[in-house]
Amino acid sequence: MTEKLGMDSQLAEKTNADRPKPAARAVLPMRHLAIRYGFLTLLFGLIVFFSLATRGFTSPQAAVFILQSVSITGILALGVTATLVVGGFDLSIGSIATSSMMAAAYVMVVLEQNALVAVLACLAIGALVGLINGLIICYMRVPDLLATLGMMFLLIGLQRIPTEGRSIAAGMTMPDGSTAEGTFSPAFLALGRHRFDFFIQNLVPASVVVLIVLAVLIWFFLEYTRFGRMMYAVGSNARAAEFAGAPVKAYKIWAYVISGVFASIGGILLAARLGRGDIASGNNLLLDAVAAALIGFAVLGAAKPNAFGTAIGALFVGVLLQGLTMMNVPYYTQDFVKGAVLVIALVFTFALLGRTR
């Protein structure tokens, strides 16, 4: 017996001597670093590149401009992150945002209500749609993608019915021939146009403040509260969460409500920025938001939906597009660039992570 073992180890030594020693120790931390900080490094590199290649990229105004350009998609992306965390998906966010924009316009222009009523109506619509999404998914057992896709179609159609397909602006002609009397209230428009002082006068737009506040809120909620932790548990193994005493369906429904409310906030800001209920706007919102949330998987090697990653993902897209615009790259390449970034980010996350297994 001992002889045999001895022979084996000889055999092993011989064959191992022929092989180059793998530098496993040295390679592993490198890959680890790449997974963790690769994307942030890329973002940083991009900023450095653009500030060298263009003029005025690093000014506070330019930075704020980038934030403003991604604020609405960023808010939607943060909402959809909540549904990704519980293992779901919400395709209706884009249409919730546009419905909420139309509703805000309708409430103020046609119903002649003030800004507060408009905002509350929008939030209520978002919460209600989210609730319905959640109920359909949890209790009717319709798969999330299908349920929210259906909801998307429904809302796109619904938002056109009250005005028979017209955009809403002050002084518009109603279907019955009369003229709408209401206007967008100044307080409401301020949500889209007011700028707060921050070291420089009139620097930070309200929408950016809203984005940052919501990002911090949802980030804290998901990372540091027990509700957030449970939502991750539900997404990873719903049955185990149930056996640990979690009301699984309630958590899922809440995730869709969060997503709906965030989307409606995005819609409010959109209405305030445009100053009208534009039937044709907001086409790209869904795809951009989903892209930001998915790019977020790559940030810090999380490989799971996370609020910080989503915010960085949105910022990344904003920086890239603004930089390319300033370098006079034609606007019609934008979607291609966004798609490419998304694919690269996903490959980056899953290929690198997969190999450590």
């Binding site: 180890s9 092993a12 793998p22 120790r25 027990r226 991750y232 185990a240």
Partner: protein, 505 residues
């Protein structure tokens, strides 16, 4: 035949494997011969499954060689290993079956790809081939059923049947019986006997001594990633093998049965299933009651009823003298009733979470302040549990998926021991746990009993005899026998266990 001329079917030499700084296999050399069952023994986290995963092409070894017959064997994928004739049933059953497909497709899954296969899927042929495989195995499962809907034991049998369908040269079984009843295990053993006659080399991993005694031709002990003993002289030295795998000898753990004082949990005229006879039971303070019986006699149903996952058809339960009818697990937990559920992969662990997050999951409301989690508290509690149950991991921040099967099981048990409870229900808590850890957990249960009532569901009689003060026997969804764990009349106990079956046949 002389050992000098004898050619081993499969040889491993100097195998090494590390995960980051964690050196799991440190030069393992081993040979498997055709027509022999080699049992590999080792404590939880010794590296058994890692070795198996290297043999089956899931991991690559850092160093070392494997030889299949006369040719070097270095599979780069599970499919390649399988085609070469090295077939594996993994410890994590869900690695071996595809949940979204039906049983028939699972049984013949591997025939779908590989050279010489048509493009089109032929459901009739699939079903026919699957029926052949099932028949050869004596498998009586609905072939059209979705795999996710099957109980653990059936999923296990499907995984095994699927592996057997390959006409293997080398067959590796990683804890195949951990969730099987003795009836199903016996079916597996007779299959193993047939494979052995056909000259297949078999590597068998198990923590169950009864399995090992039944199948072993030789035993190899693995300790901390190195071979620590080889036993092939008949009669096999089982104690020696256990000592070699633990690095010390295992103390005898006799237990003194305690009598219950006041009842903590009572169930009266409980009916679990239409047509089943109602039964009553009581568990006292400080008492450990084991419920034993074959797989599928309603043990899990009873555990889920007590935990509020299922409402009883009839009857009432009382806890601490007041009525107890939990509608949800949350309600049960609030009353101090905890369940260590069976089938940890499905109902226990959250694979994306690390060790401490898994442990604190049910107790987040108490471990957080104003809804905000307190990681420091959670981690300290987890560290205490890791030390207590000797869970092998580098820290409480390890991802659960990187722990060995037995250590994952220990985490799910530790989770529910971390907080005081009134009634602790454990359903097959020793699944995949090694002998010494089993003794540790049993000792921990007895030591921490206090005035808590403990109800523990075990298919293995030996485990019940090792742990409980009182043993109840379940059959056909009702209780059919009761034994105090003191000079147990084994014949009567075994007759009780078999009773329902005989009556039904």
């Amino acid at each position: 035949m002389g050992s000098a001329t004898f050619r081993a079917t499969f040889r491993i030499a100097g195998l090494r494997k590390s995960f980051g700084p964690n050196e799991v296999l440190r030069g393992v050399s081993l040979e498997l011969r055709g027509g022999e069952v080699t049992v590999l023994m080792g404590a939880n986290g010794a590296g058994k499954s890692t070795l198996v995963k290297i043999m089956s092409g899931i991991y690559r070894a850092d160093r070392g060689v494997m030889m299949l017959g006369e040719t070097p064997f270095a599979p780069s994928s599970p499919a390649e290993a399988m085609r070469a004739g090295v077939v594996t049933v993994h410890q994590n059953i869900d690695d071996g079956v595809v949940g979204a497909l039906d049983v028939a497709s699972n049984l013949v899954l591997d025939r779908f790809n590989g050279p010489g296969r048509g493009i089109f899927f032929n459901p009739r042929r699939t079903r026919r081939e699957a029926r052949e495989v099932a028949q050869r195995m004596g498998l009586s499962i609905d072939l059209k059923a979705d795999l996710t809907d099957l109980p653990l034991a059936d999923r296990q049998m499907v995984a095994i049947a699927r592996a057997m369908a390959h006409k293997p040269q080398v067959m590796v079984l990683d804890e195949p019986t951990s969730s099987l009843s003795s009836h199903e295990a016996n079916r597996l053993f007779s299959l193993i006997d047939r494979l052995r006659e056909r000259g297949v080399a078999i590597l068998y991993i198990s923590h169950r001594m009864s399995d090992i005694r039944r199948v072993a031709d030789r035993i190899v002990s693995l300790r901390d990633g190195a071979i620590s003993g080889l036993f092939e002289d008949k009669p096999l030295d089982y104690e020696g093998a256990v000592d070699a795998m633990l690095g010390q000898s295992l103390g005898q753990s006799g237990i003194a049965a305690r009598a219950a004082t006041k009842p903590v949990f009572e169930a009266r005229d409980l009916q679990l299933k239409p047509g089943a006879t109602p039964f009553s039971l009581a568990v006292g303070a400080g008492e450990i009651v084991a419920v034993t019986g074959l797989v599928g006699v309603g043990k899990t149903l009873l555990s889920e009823t007590v935990f509020g996952l299922q409402a009883p058809l009839a009857g009432a339960m009382r806890l601490d003298g007041t009525s107890y009818a939990p509608a949800t697990p949350a309600a049960a937990i609030a009353r101090g009733v905890f369940l260590v559920a069976k089938d940890r992969a499905k109902t226990g662990i959250v694979p994306d979470f690390n060790v401490y997050e898994n442990m604190s999951l049910p107790f987040l409301p108490r471990l957080s302040r104003l809804g905000v989690t307190r990681r420091g508290t959670e981690r300290a509690a987890a560290r205490a549990q890791i030390a207590d149950l000797k869970i092998v991991c580098r820290s409480e921040r390890d991802d659960l998926a990187t722990l060995s099967g037995g250590n994952q099981q220990k985490v799910t048990v530790a989770r529910w021991l971390a907080q005081p409870s009134r009634l602790l229900v454990l359903d097959e808590p020793f699944q995949g746990v090694d002998i010494s850890a089993r003794h540790d957990i049993a000792a921990k249960l007895r030591g921490s009993a206090g005035d808590r009532a403990t109800l523990i569901f075990l298919t293995e009689l030996d485990e019940a005899l090792e742990t409980a003060d009182r043993i109840l026997v379940m059959s056909e969804h009702t209780l059919v026998g009761e034994h105090r764990n003191e000079n147990v009349d084994m014949e009567r106990l075994l007759a009780d266990v078999a009773g329902g079956q005989v009556g039904a046949a």
